[in-house]
């Protein structure tokens, strides 16, 4: 079955083609079924491939699909790499992708762009699968760009709204800035090692000088900054909430934004070799985590809170990568995919129930009305806050433990970010589901639980959020950490933990107690003392206003980057385009006119004149012949 791994991206591609060409002509049910079934088929094949890999002792399997670039100096075959890392991601992408497809059938039911939505979703899954399956940096880059494109298409799905289009453009352009770094990194790899295939590059990694390796690692990380929304290229992700909620769940929680993590884990040999690059990754990660968490505290749109939460959690994953805990990062990717997709889909269910309202200030008391949504979101919130025994606890604890080993300061910052996470997530929960309903009368009548196509994926994801911790049980409890063992073959320079059991226990208990304390504090704040988020910005204190306005980062980018560029382009338009080039083109035209009007007199209809000119012409040519001699 490993040989048939090419089927996995093929099914979504077929779904894309069918829905793309015939989507409008077939019924919505058929369109949704084709799209969902193609992902399900991919999921089944992924499971079979995964199981075969687990049973086999050969952990690195290269499957050639076709000969792609084949010239004398440059040979890049189109190969897939089936190994522990790619199979884990395959399962996440196809599994959660399938659940989200099913959910979308319910969520997008009334939308007239139904078939178009599933076309884009399938295309997205196709590119994401290419990204994780490729055996060289170029295929990964193709997938990288492709998911960026699909992100643009899906964010701007309701294209009649200009603000959504702008958000889509912002996402794509910011991604491209990161991609420049990524591309430079790939080029540097090629120049240094003569190849961009993973096996060839990683086996010869130590042949390059340390500064080259650092440069490669940093350039690749710039790509990850753009794709995974880290500082300073993160502002696109909150704006990307303009897209339909399933899009936010799939692309901006579970899969696309994890591409950066995937790429760093795949290239872990470079980061292990370069302390500078690893430190950079860790610092950027933890600063982003903290920064985004503070912004999330003051947001009032349910999806924006989750968006900033995603940025923050991704920061934690990069922190893990930076301290060398690669399998912990992948573990957190997995658990985060479970509970973040759950939270986003749940938010979609809430928005659906509220008839399109996304402001949590207008919600409240929903737990009695939409019970399944409430139950699953409660589970998701507990998981993300890192409470034992839910999945988030295990993955986050692993990250923080490894971080403490590396640097207590980073650990402190990471722990603080986690505490803020617990705070704003429970704030969201309390304000949305508890208390009295604060919306309009019509909204109250409209409240209803979502159809089963939406609630069943929620339930499945909730179960995964609870049980996901089993994938990586802590070793100092003398329990098997499957994720760590699974990924061992791809970590090229493993580092072993030297912490004592006492330290690990202390850290774990500290983390859980801190989270519980924060949750109690949040409960007091929002339930007992019934604090409400301010309705108008003027009611906030100055420091709160700064954070509420996201530290004015968007405005900063606007002033420093966009306006000069605008001015430059106006200059180019006014001077170069209008005056210079138009002048040249118009000048050619008028020259032709002038010449024409003077040469016109040769054609006067006088035969005698014609004959004379013929004779003169012959004389002239003869003279020339003599002169040329």
């Amino acid at each position: 079955m490993i040989k048939l791994v090419a089927l996995i991206p093929l099914f979504p591609l077929i779904g894309f083609i069918i829905n793309g060409f015939f989507g409008k002509k077939i019924s919505k049910g058929l369109s949704g079924s084709i799209a969902s079934l193609s992902i399900f088929a991919s999921f089944v094949v992924s499971v079979l491939v995964f199981m075969e890999l687990q049973a086999s002792s050969q952990k690195e399997n290269v499957v050639s699909v076709f000969s792609w670039i084949n010239s004398d100096t440059l040979k890049i075959p189109f190969e897939f790499l089936v190994d522990p890392l790619s199979t884990v991601f395959l399962l996440i992408i196809t599994g959660i992708g399938f659940l989200i497809h099913v959910y979308s059938v319910g969520y997008m039911h009334d939308d007239e762009g139904f078939a178009r939505f599933f076309t884009y979703l399938n295309l997205f899954v196709f590119f994401m699968l290419l990204l994780v399956l490729g055996n060289n940096y170029l295929i990964t880059f193709v997938g990288w760009e492709g998911v960026g494109l699909c992100s643009y298409l899906l964010i701007g799905f309701w294209f009649k709204n200009t603000a959504y289009n702008n958000a889509a453009k912002k996402a794509f352009i910011m991604n491209r800035i990161g991609d420049l770094g990524f591309l430079l990194g790939i080029i540097l790899i090629f120049v240094t090692y003569g190849s961009i295939s993973y096996s060839e590059v990683f086996n010869n990694a130590s042949l390059a000088s340390p500064s080259t390796v650092t440069a490669i690692a940093l350039l690749l990380f710039i790509g990850a900054i753009g794709k995974s929304a880290q500082l300073p290229l993160y502002t696109w992700l909150p704006d990307a909430m303009a897209g339909p909620t399933p899009v936010s769940a799939l692309i901006h929680a579970a899969t696309m934004v994890t591409a950066g993590i995937f790429m760093v884990v795949r290239s872990n040999v470079f980061y292990s070799m370069s302390a500078v690059a690893s430190e950079t990754v860790a610092v950027v990660g933890v600063v982003t985590a903290l920064f985004a968490a503070t912004i999330g505290v003051f947001q009032t749109d349910i999806k924006k809170i989750l968006a900033y939460s995603t940025v923050s959690q991704l920061g934690l994953m990069f922190l893990a990568l930076g301290v060398g805990a690669y399998s912990s990062a992948v573990f957190h990717v997995t658990t985060h995919a479970f509970f973040k997709a759950l939270l986003f889909l749940g938010a979609g269910s809430v928005i659906h129930a509220m008839g399109g309202e996304q402001d949590i200030r207008k919600m409240g008391g929903l737990k009695g009305k939409i019970k399944i949504t409430f139950g699953t979101m409660l589970i998701g919130t507990i998981a993300i806050s890192g409470i034992f025994p839910f999945s988030g606890f295990f993955s986050k604890d692993e990250i923080l433990a490894h971080t403490y080993e590396h640097s207590p300061i980073l650990w402190l910052l990471g722990t603080f970010a986690s505490m803020l996470t617990a705070f704003y997530m429970f704030r969201l929960l309390f304000l949305t589901f508890f208390g009295k309903f604060r919306g309009t009368h019509d909204q109250e009548h409209h409240l209803h639980e979502s159809p089963s196509s939406m609630t069943i994926p929620l339930i499945i994801l909730a179960a995964l959020s609870i049980l996901g911790g089993l994938l990586g049980l802590p070793e100092f409890w003398h329990l098997p950490n499957w994720m760590h063992h699974n990924l061992e073959p791809i970590i090229k320079r493993p580092a072993y933990s030297t912490m004592s059991h006492e330290t690990e226990w202390t850290l774990m208990i500290l983390a859980v107690s801190a989270a519980l304390a924060v949750i109690y504090f949040t409960y007091l704040m929002f339930m007992k003392y019934k604090v409400k988020p301010a309705d108008k910005e003027e009611q906030l204190r100055p420091w709160q206003r700064v954070i509420y306005n996201k530290y004015y980062v968007d405005e900063l980018y606007d002033a420093v980057i966009r306006r000069p560029l605008d001015g430059l382009s106006k200059l180019f338009y006014k001077f170069f385009d209008t005056e210079l080039i138009d002048g040249i083109v118009n000048g050619v035209g008028s020259t032709v006119k002038v010449i024409g009007s003077s040469v016109r007199y040769l054609q006067n209809g006088n035969i005698g004149f014609y004959l004379m000119s013929m004779v003169l012409g012959v004389v002239f040519i003869v003279l020339l012949t003599f002169l040329i001699k």
Binding site: Q603, N604, G605, N606, I607, G608, L611, M612, V615
Partner: protein, 95 residues
């Protein structure tokens, strides 16, 4: 000596073509030029003892005959249209 004669005849023909208005005289001047060239060719052929020149003269004469036939046909058509053979009156394409 034939060289000089031939050149003079050619120049007379050329000036005639440029300066005359009567179409028939125009044709005669064209013939003059052709014959001047014939004379020149024959003279050189004798000088270099190369028969190619005289063969070429035959060609020219044949072509000249054909050309005169066509030219006179055109002249006839023009006469039928404007009842005159003055080339100055053929300026309908002007401007």
């Amino acid at each position: 000596m034939y060289l000089l004669l031939s050149t003079v005849i050619f120049i007379i023909g050329a000036i005639g073509v440029m300066a005359r208005r009567n179409t028939i005289i125009l044709f005669m001047c064209i013939e003059l030029m052709l014959n001047a060239v014939n004379l020149l060719l024959v003279a050189f052929s004798v000088l270099h003892k190369d028969p190619n020149g005289q063969v070429f003269v035959f060609f020219i004469m044949a072509v000249a005959a054909a050309e005169v036939a066509v030219g006179l046909a055109i002249l006839t058509m023009i006469y039928r249209n404007i009842k005159s053979i003055d080339t100055d009156l053929l300026g309908n394409l002007k401007n």
